[in-house]
């Protein structure tokens, strides 16, 4: 092994590249997964969301899309609040998309009608101004709190819009505050919307008494399913529906959402690891190629060792140990290189990465395994050499 350093180094390089790409790509997948998890958790903890519409996929009655029906009311929210234990808070919301204008600027954004519990459940904090008060909710006050992105669209970045007027669907609202940015873009962003009192939203924006969803914060993660079942039966009873499959609402469990999202990122991680695995395979074939060359070169030595009393397994162990130590060295260097690559990706790329201990152990283990698998054939070939032929070999 040490006798042909450049050949060993090149062979090790193949393993280094394989292991480094496994580490780096898994770190990208893990980074994405952790990012999504923390974003979902930032939306609030232990959350159940009741939405109108049905989960039902089949049936003889044509239904509208989920959330399009108007089956949930404020009374449902009150009933949940009063009828079920283990709940910290209940926050019904009314939402709708509307064109919003202010002095010639306009944007199309989500209008959320909320009550006093909503910011608490969703961990939303105020950046400027003040939150909506119970008084404003009762009096259907025409006040609005902007998300930071909406504020940027309507007033410009960093401007304090409190006291300004905006028009939502023909009604004039005065801005009383701006929320802190929560991060995230695109659909469902908590930064691109406008909060107004729930009662005002029902009166001026949607024009009916239904609510768009009911957020329920459960007191502990263990009770999520239990509370979900209770809410389910309570609402079925209130809506006089006996058949569960015909329910005119659905309940989304944050834990379900989390597991759905993490199954997506797990698949992503697996895919990336598989791609990296291909380069590891190529590296392994490189090892096998080199070991076969070495066995041929050292035929005389093998014959000599056998004539001096080496058993077949002594010979094969010697060559296996050699290939495993090559791949192990490659694996350790690969972990360092992969770690550095992951660090560079998160430093200079737009992705977050996360090198986990299991990916390190996994790849060093795989490296050693590659050494065994691809070293096995050359080693057994060496062991099977006939000592007399091997001694004669020139």
């Amino acid at each position: 092994m040490s006798s042909n350093k450049s050949r060993s180094a090149l062979t090790i390089l193949g393993i280094v590249i394989g292991i480094a790409s496994v580490i780096a790509l898994i770190s990208v997948g893990q980074g994405a997964s952790q990012g999504i998890t923390s974003r979902i958790e930032s939306l609030g903890t232990n959350l159940l969301v009741v939405m109108p519409g049905s989960q039902r996929q089949s049936g003889n009655i044509v239904r509208g899309g989920m959330g399009s029906s108007q089956s949930l009311t404020l009374e449902d929210a009150d009933a949940i609040r009063q009828g079920i234990a283990d709940i910290i808070a209940v926050a019904p919301t009314v939402s709708s998309r509307k064109q919003v204008t202010v002095k010639g600027q306009n944007t199309n954004t989500s209008i959320y009608g909320i009550d006093g519990n909503y910011f608490g459940i969703k961990n939303i904090e105020m950046d400027l101004g003040s939150a909506i008060t119970g008084q404003q909710i009762q009096s259907r006050a025409k006040v609005a709190i902007l998300g930071p992105t909406t504020r940027d669209d309507l007033f410009g970045e960093g401007v304090d819009p409190t006291g300004q007027k905006i028009r939502i669907g023909g009604q004039e609202f005065s801005v009383i505050g701006v929320t802190k940015a929560k991060g995230g873009t695109g659909f469902g962003s908590a930064d691109d919307l406008i909060y107004i009192p729930l009662t005002a939203a029902q009166q001026y924006v949607t024009g009916n008494q239904s609510v768009s969803n009911i957020n329920i914060q459960v007191s502990s993660a263990d009770l999520m399913s239990f509370v979900q079942a209770q809410v389910q039966s309570l609402l079925l009873e209130r809506h006089r529906i006996s058949d569960e499959t015909k329910a005119d609402f659905s309940i989304m469990n944050q834990a379900d959402m989390l597991s759905a999202m993490s199954s997506v990122t797990d698949t992503l991680t697996l895919l990336l690891a598989a791609i990296a695995g291909i380069s590891l395979l190529v590296g392994g074939i490189g090892i096998m190629n080199m070991m076969l060359t070495t066995v041929t070169e050292r035929t005389r030595e093998i014959g000599l060792r056998k004539s001096l009393g080496a058993k077949n397994h002594d010979i094969s162990n010697q060559f296996l140990a050699e290939s495993v130590s090559l791949t192990f060295i490659g694996g350790v260097i690969g972990v360092i290189v992969g770690w550095a690559a992951a660090w560079l990706i998160s430093k200079f790329g737009s992705m977050t990465t996360s090198v986990t201990s299991w990916s390190i152990f996994l790849s060093v283990g795989i490296a050693a395994l590659v050494g065994i698998v691809f070293g096995y054939y050359p080693a057994s070939r060496a062991a099977k050499l006939d000592p007399i032929d091997a001694l004669r070999y020139q």
Partner: protein, 228 residues
């Protein structure tokens, strides 16, 4: 100690049967210094491979210390090679990039019961027995002269204290002067330490150093004489 009964070896190459040894029988006692002499193609190398438990005959029996070697498995034959036989080759067959001491210790690697310190002590004893100068022990083996290399090889053959040393043309790659040193070493090992020594050679002058000469030609023994 060694007993060969009707040893026959036939090589099969491409459907042709080539008999190399035909009905060879002899006995060797412990402590003998023996030469097996014959021209090339006489079958003496094949005989050495059989005596050294490297090869099996086509028929016949070979007893080593009362055990029929060819009833043994491959691993058991390797055990015999390691414990009872020391090989010395014409082309020395040392590991070129290893030191003299390491080369001498190679046969001990395959016996895990021996500690490192014991290995070194045995190697030093063997190197002293062949009279190799101490300052050469840490040299790489390819820095030595031919005569020195062959003495290293003899030390390696001695390290497990085998009953038999099998030397295949040990002076074939040496000039007559260094060859004589090597032959003196065998002489000394036989006389002083009681090792059984079997020289395989085509050279009558080399064979004359032994006290018994078996001459072999075309796969049969044509003479077996003892000197006094």
């Amino acid at each position: 100690m060694i007993k060969c009964e009707n040893i026959v070896k036939i090589y099969q190459t491409g459907g042709n049967e080539t008999p190399v040894l035909r009905d060879v029988s002899f006995e060797i006692q412990k402590g003998e210094y023996l030469a097996i002499m014959g021209p090339s193609g006489s079958g003496k190398s094949t005989l050495m491979h059989i005596l050294g438990a490297l090869d099996r005959p086509t028929s016949g029996r070979y007893f080593l210390d009362g055990k029929n070697v060819f009833d043994l498995s491959g691993d058991e034959m390797a055990e015999i090679r390691s414990q009872k036989i020391g090989f010395v080759f014409q082309s020395f067959n040392l590991l070129p990039r290893s030191t003299v001491l390491r080369n001498v210790m190679v046969p001990l690697i395959y016996n895990r019961k021996i500690t490192k310190a014991e290995r070194r002590a045995k190697a030093e004893r063997a190197l002293k027995a062949v009279g190799l100068e101490k300052e050469l022990w840490t040299h790489l083996s390819n820095q030595l002269s031919g005569g020195q290399m062959q003495r290293v090889a003899i030390a390696r053959a001695l390290i497990n204290d085998p009953g038999i040393i099998l030397a295949d043309e040990p002076t074939g790659n040496l000039d007559s002067k260094t060859g004589a040193v090597v032959l003196d070493t065998f002489e000394k090992l036989n006389k002083e330490n009681g090792h059984t020594i079997i020289l395989i050679t085509h050279d009558k002058n080399v064979a004359e150093h032994a006290r018994r000469i078996i001459e072999i030609k075309d796969g049969v023994i044509i003479s077996d004489r003892k000197k006094n």
